[in-house]
Amino acid sequence: MTAWSSWGRARGAVVLPPALALLIALGIGALVIALAGADPWLALGALAQGAFGSADAWSEVGVRTCPLLLTGLAVTIAFRAGIWNIGAEGQLLVGAVAVAWLGTGVGDLPAWLAIPLVLAGAALGGGAWAALAGLLKTARGVDEVISTIMLNFIALGLVGYLVHGPLMEASGAYPQTDAVAATARLPRLFAGYRLHAGLAIALVTAGLTSVLLFRTLFGFAMRAAGLNPVAARLAGLPVTGAVLGALTLSGALAGLAGGIELSAITFRLYDQFSPGYGFTAIAVALLGRLHPAGVILAAVFFGALDAGAMAMQRSAGVSSVLVSVIEAIVIFSLIAVEWTRVGGRSFNHQVKA
């Protein structure tokens, strides 16, 4: 057995399952389309066309990829530390609230100051929202699965209250906030396309996440807490701090995702602001095998699915929620072959902080 062939086999073990999972998911997706009375080839063709068929389609894939990548990284950081952050959706919304609120007041500032300011606000907001769950866990022993889910709904209610109440646009016509100042808007990368600088921020964040997880002491402590909290504590690692830090950082990235989406795409906050990016993020993180490089690929894949699904709904009459079915099948396929096991563990325990 040469080193080369064992490397090849290891690579096969990493690449084959997600490829198969995607095939299975698309196959079942086609079956669901057929059962729904539409032509699967037409629908999947429209989906592919909508994702990659034109420059505009590519740009839209990038637009969809950005929040999925950032929330996917958020989930990755938490899961690596053994924390089940199901609350990326709520953290994303709080980040968006921060930008909607700050962004209308920074019109006098130059863009180079205004944009970092509002995005820092988004990260702070999302981080603080997640830290609530972290404190409930470390101080009061509240399971973060439940608390982050509850905080999702509270954030949703908060957005509803704000856009119908205190932050409603000045004209009072619609339940939405005023558009953020021009200086608080992230620049577009190419004239005529919606692709924006947020994607670059997300890619840089992926690189930084990789460094944090694999090249820093804090990252080591986080991963150790995730792999075996008892051993990590006995080894003198600050498990409680790692749990709090990982969850706060996770929330900050999710908040940044919401802030960027508002600053670059919607400019306003309204009731249905997020189509569930924070939940898709869980699929993104798992498909990316909790590794930043993998998360980039997975985010692009789900971004393409999302962008294509809109085209599919328009031209083939198949509801775009079909994408949820495909996402679910991808997750089920991967957990069935235990491919989501990372470093010999299968996430079977929870950190008792």
Binding site: A36, I149, F153, S324, F332, E338
Partner: protein, 306 residues
């Protein structure tokens, strides 16, 4: 507060509590067997859809309920394949189940009833009055003028409490949740027990959905489970994983949800959204106050074997 307002509030409380109680009882059984099922929300949604389809095509509410039970049991069995047979992480599998339910019901609904979503109403499940008891002030209209599913839900509470505490299968179920390896040495089939618990959990959660579609809304709306599956998860913890505790917690959360329909009549000058988030805030507060006093089954969330 006058009596009619109190009656209306109590009636809303029970109506809101039943679709929380049924899934919460299902979750109780699953968790006592050591499996946490985050997919409750999706199971409710599928139950609501299956009930509507069944009632729509057969014209019978009873057959609607039956199809919901069948769909829920089937999904419960499917879920058990991943978390019991394949030892998959239960939180991840549950999240996937929720995604699947949203997608399947959304695609199927539009395929069957068209994109327009024309106001679709069915006869639904009519309330049955219990003679004499329905004449009680406040309690009569609230508790004793309900569709059959509601009575079934309330009857299940003592049944499940008794079964868990005083029967051999109930003991076996609890052993599997506390220490599956010890249970196995006593001859308990761990995987079969957990699978059965998840099938029952799926059926009960779907029954909650059937109540929503047939008795509450008398129609189906995409995403009509509206977070009830997650509140039910919280109810199980707040109710300290006992059937009676779960029933009381469900009524409490039903009351908190009912306030949103009556707060104006009650003269409360608070934004509407406050009542939408009230159940979730209450959950966090209760859990934060519980520290260390709500013991979960020792093997909850842990796969068995390997």
């Amino acid at each position: 507060m006058d009596l009619s307002l109190l009656t209306a509030l109590a009636t809303s409380m029970v109506t809101m509590a039943v679709p929380l109680l049924l899934p919460a009882l299902g979750e109780l059984i699953a968790e006592r067997a050591g499996v946490i099922n985050i997919g409750l929300e999706g199971l409710i949604l599928v139950g609501a859809f299956a009930a509507l389809i069944g009632a729509w095509f057969t014209g019978s509410a009873a057959l609607g309920v039956a199809s919901a039970l069948a769909a829920g049991a089937l999904l419960g069995a499917g879920f058990s394949f991943f978390v019991v047979q394949r030892n998959a992480n239960q939180v991840v599998a549950g999240t996937a189940l929720n995604l699947l339910a949203v997608g399947l019901t959304g695609v199927a609904y539009r395929a069957v009833f068209g994109v327009t979503g024309a106001a679709l109403t069915i006869a639904g499940s009519a309330p049955i009055s219990i003679p004499l008891l329905d004449r009680l002030p406040v309690l009569g209209p609230a508790f004793f003028t309900q569709p059959p599913l509601a009575y079934a839900a309330f009857l299940l509470v003592p049944c499940i409490a008794m079964a868990l505490a005083h029967t051999v299968p109930g003991l076996a179920l609890r052993m599997v949740g506390e220490n599956p390896y010890a249970a196995e040495t006593q001859g308990v089939a761990v995987r079969r027990t957990r699978t059965l618990a998840l099938i029952v959990c799926g059926a009960l959660a779907a029954a909650g959905g059937a109540y929503l579609a047939l008795a509450y809304a008398k129609t189906f709306v995409e995403g009509m489970s509206a977070g009830r599956g997650f509140i039910a998860l919280a109810i199980v913890i707040v109710g300290r994983r006992s059937a009676v505790g779960v029933a009381l917690a469900a009524l409490f959360f039903g009351f908190a949800s009912a306030l949103q329909f009556h707060f104006q009549a009650l003269g409360l000058a608070v934004p509407f959204q406050f009542f939408l988030i009230l159940p979730y805030v209450l959950t966090l507060l209760v859990l934060a106050g519980y520290v260390g006093r709500s013991p979960a089954p020792a093997a909850l969330g842990q796969p068995y074997g390997r």
